[in-house]
């Protein structure tokens, strides 16, 4: 299937490698740096787009116009906001716990960026194609609770602390169904490798084989990134802004960035694991990937502006008594399905 411009990034990569000739070690080091920079660039660009998109989608859903002054149709707003954020004073309240307070946003963003290393952005476009891919994603993103709690605690503010505490409860509760929802796919493909999972979806997307897993994943992932309707951690109407109440300026920007990066992340994982990743006809793989990610982002935004916020007890109830059994059932079903499949088509898999 001809795909226009599919391998354009690979060609660039090979050209860079060619510059170093036989010194593959140096080439590897340089390539790693390039990959790192690229991830940043893509991330920042994507977040800028998402922020604008959110405002637009929100406005559209609420029958408003949204930002419309700066630039064409208001898209220049992104640049303006950035400049405003960077220009603001980095104000540190008196009684915060200095170092944790200062480092929390950085770690938060850093952890998110680490996860991007294993995402397949296109055919052959996996920064680091780990064997443990999916597991790595889960393991690293599990760490992201910590900076949130740290930020909440270090701010020395009741609201922040409450936000931090809620984040622990919520994230830990929803991490379990999140992990289990992805296990179904891993059972089918028998690998954690993201590229291999994408390859396995050449003919059929796993969203069709794992509908329950997909639903559970989306819900749990939304809870993981604290988006509405699971935004209890930063519920503005309840306690200011939750764990980042005390942050301002660029540090607030980092949280903001990380939040949208997380949105990107879960959409990308959903696209990779359930929606066939870069697989698709006619268009280049990376474009397919971008489309699918955008679709997921839109979907999640849609949810945000559609559903009301959960109450805390409802949240826990839903996580432990609905999602967890559902994900477990999904695993059992998948196991049975694989067994039956192997009975019908012996020799495949295993």
């Amino acid at each position: 299937m001809p795909q226009f411009g599919s391998d354009i990034f690979l060609l660039i990569a090979n050209w860079i490698r060619g510059l170093f000739g036989a010194n593959t070690y140096a080439a590897d080091v340089v390539m790693d740096i390039v990959k790192f920079i690229m991830i940043y660039v893509v991330l920042v660009l994507a977040v800028m787009v998402f922020v604008m998109l959110e405002r637009k989608v929100c406005a559209w859903m609420q029958l408003r116009v949204g930002p419309n002054r700066l630039g064409p149709r208001g898209w220049g707003q992104i640049i303006g906001d950035m400049i405003k954020l960077m220009g603001k004073e980095d104000f540190r309240p008196d009684n915060v716990d200095k170092w944790p307070w200062a480092l929390a946003p950085m770690f938060f963003l850093g952890i998110t960026i680490m996860v991007f290393a294993v995402l397949p952005f296109g055919r052959g476009m996996v920064p680091v194609d780990l064997d443990l891919g999916i597991f790595y994603i889960l393991a690293i993103s599990a760490l992201s609770v910590l900076p949130v709690v740290t930020a909440g605690w270090a701010s020395n503010n009741k609201y922040s602390l409450l936000g931090g505490m809620r984040s622990v409860a919520q994230m830990i509760s929803y991490e379990i169904p999140l992990v289990f929802s992805l296990l179904g796919v891993v059972m089918i493909t028998q690998t954690f490798k993201t590229s291999a999972i994408v390859e396995a979806q050449q003919h059929v997307w796993f969203v069709l084989l794992q509908p329950i897993g997909f639903v559970v994943y989306v819900i749990a992932a939304m809870a993981e990134i604290n988006r509405a309707p699971f935004d209890l951690i930063e519920a503005e109407s309840e306690f200011g802004c939750g764990y980042f109440t005390e942050y301002s300026g660029l540090r607030f920007g980092l949280f903001y960035l990380a939040e949208y990066a997380n949105l990107f992340l879960i959409s990308a994982v959903a696209a990779t694991v359930f929606l066939g990743g870069w697989q698709g006809p006619f268009l280049p793989g990376w474009l397919w990937f971008a489309i699918k990610v955008l679709f997921m982002v839109f979907l999640i935004m849609w949810f945000r502006w559609t559903f009301p916020r959960f109450r805390v007890d409802q949240l826990m109830h839903f996580g432990w008594k609905v999602l967890l059994p559902l994900s477990l059932a999904n695993i059992v079903l998948t196991g049975v399905g694989i067994y039956v499949y192997q009975l019908i088509f012996p020799g495949i898999g295993g």
Binding site: D97, F135, L138, A139, V168, I172, V179
Partner: protein, 172 residues
């Protein structure tokens, strides 16, 4: 070249691990201790990676970094009384004795490490690749009974923890 790089990387992570472990026990603020503990876990995970134990590294991050550290932070926050966070992790009067005994233990362990000839291996066996499959193979063949026992243990621990933390409702 590669040796030096891997040696340096080891050095970095070993220092990170050990230093943050030191900070865990020396920090006066228990929340800092908990955070450094998380850092230690991450450092240990990195050491696992250096030892080609990728699966274990991920498990380490997931369980220790994602669950144990968070639980501990949570526990700290639940049991911390307001206003004394700066002095929440004081040494007891056993500190000196504890330090001496720990040093002695370390000296003993070091003695054993350096005087045990078969252990002085620096050869990199360069076995690479994933360990996940092999671990699962072992788990489901040789160690299937301990595996199940571990599962039961976790269940029991979970039930026990819930009962302990919630308390038994006497009115029932």
């Amino acid at each position: 070249m590669g040796d030096i790089a891997s040696g340096l990387i080891f050095l970095v992570f070993a220092l990170l691990t050990v230093f943050s472990a030191y900070l865990v026990v020396s920090s006066k603020n228990i929340v800092h201790s908990a955070l450094f503990l998380a850092l230690t876990f991450v450092g240990v995970a990195a050491l696992y990676v250096l030892m080609n134990a990728d699966f274990l590294a991920a498990v380490q991050l997931l369980v220790y970094g994602g669950a144990v550290a968070i639980m501990i932070v949570f526990g700290v926050m639940l049991t911390l009384r307001s206003g004394n966070a700066q002095n929440s992790n004081l040494d007891s009067r056993n500190a000196l004795a504890g330090a001496i005994v720990s040093l002695l233990t370390f000296a003993t362990l070091g003695l054993v490490v350096f005087t045990t000839e078969p252990w002085r291996k620096t050869v990199d066996l360069s076995a690479t690749g994933t360990t996940t499959g092999d671990i699962s193979w072992l788990m489901l063949t040789k160690y299937v009974v301990p595996f199940e026992v571990a599962a039961v243990l976790l269940l029991v621990a979970m039930v026990g923890a819930i009962i302990l933390a919630k308390g038994v409702n006497d009115s029932k």
